[in-house]
Symmetry: C2
Subunit: 250 residues, 2 copies
Amino acid sequence: MVNIVIIGSGNVAHHLVEAFKIHEKLTVVQVICRNPKKMHGVIDAKLITNQYDEIINADIYIIAVSDDAIYEVAENLKLNDKLIVHTSGSKNLSDLGNQNRKGVFYPLQSFTKSKNINFKTIPICIEATSEKDYAILYNIANSISDYVYEINSEQRKMLHLAAVFANNFTNHMFKIANDICDSNNIPFEILKPLIKETSEKILTVSPNDAQTGPAVRKDLATINTQLSLLETENQKAIYKLLTQSIQSNV
Amino acid sequence: MVNIVIIGSGNVAHHLVEAFKIHEKLTVVQVICRNPKKMHGVIDAKLITNQYDEIINADIYIIAVSDDAIYEVAENLKLNDKLIVHTSGSKNLSDLGNQNRKGVFYPLQSFTKSKNINFKTIPICIEATSEKDYAILYNIANSISDYVYEINSEQRKMLHLAAVFANNFTNHMFKIANDICDSNNIPFEILKPLIKETSEKILTVSPNDAQTGPAVRKDLATINTQLSLLETENQKAIYKLLTQSIQSNV
């Protein structure tokens, strides 16, 4: 049995509690968060507190708060030589202070509170400073997910950056496509099957091999026509830069 | 019963023949293509020819060849007052010449020959110059797909351009993410569930509402750190421009 304290009440905290509570070998013994109401309905209200001095003994303390709050939360934990981890893709281990054993438990997914998630398919990237702590983290991660990776701090930052391209910037491409549809009275719905296929394709084909379109074909006539059709300078600049980037393949 | 002649042997021609032949009210009576072998196994070899003067009578002639070849193919069709259509997102009706009734039958999807496709879910954008021809196209499209849209030539060009953002440029974001992973010994696999979620999210949430990440949060510290981590000038330029674009929301 692993006893877990969760600090936080956001999307990640919420989904972690849900994932842990269906697993018999993992017990969330306490949730600490500023506004206990936010976790009502997720876990027994008696286990929730906003008082750091009520913190109880556990095997691991998972800080699942926004990046900027991690340092302050870690400072508030009056613990010694305990295993405390954060769930951030971009923060350093050093943000967890020096009073305790440190680690990272980073589930790589874009969480939405209202949307149920099957944690089994979410990659969890773990890091620890000793083999013993690594084993504890691996045991927890492996209980809730089928995809556990050992990722060190340097790699984790690069992975988080790669995720900005794969998620944030990709979503912005959808947004521009949506804008183009809107200003031409075209239902954005028409593009959804294509978007679905685009992301499904790279499950089996590398993005490099999956590239299609006027840029990779070096179809200058279509590229010039499309540039002239775009309505904003911003869209034109993006079209040019990405076309260039696809062609130079760097 | 609708008798159909297909001209072409590429991905679109291939998938159209497959889609038509399982529908009892649609009959592919002939396929014309330069290299008949390419269509062997897809349809009875006796129905395939590379001789334009062997062209037979049909209700509709679908030119499913590469954009640049449409004009020449249309010139070669020795027909008069027949309904001929192309399947291109970016070409004009005028590319089909003036001898015949013209139209467009544009299935909006990224086709791969080796991959089976359920045509029912592929949007088909149709255009015709008379109500009668529109009805013929609608009947065919509606037989093989649940998503048929009337899209005029101007809209179609903009839709094709939107698809460049939604598919080509999105895939390039995956490629850069893959490059970042490769150069840091991170398995690209880790990002696949996130990519899947990114495209699934916009089925129910608008891309504008789905935007997350340092750019939309205006998290300057993370943005600057990530810019300094990127390894190529090209990646930096793309990161800057897309971050700017997300923030200005134009």
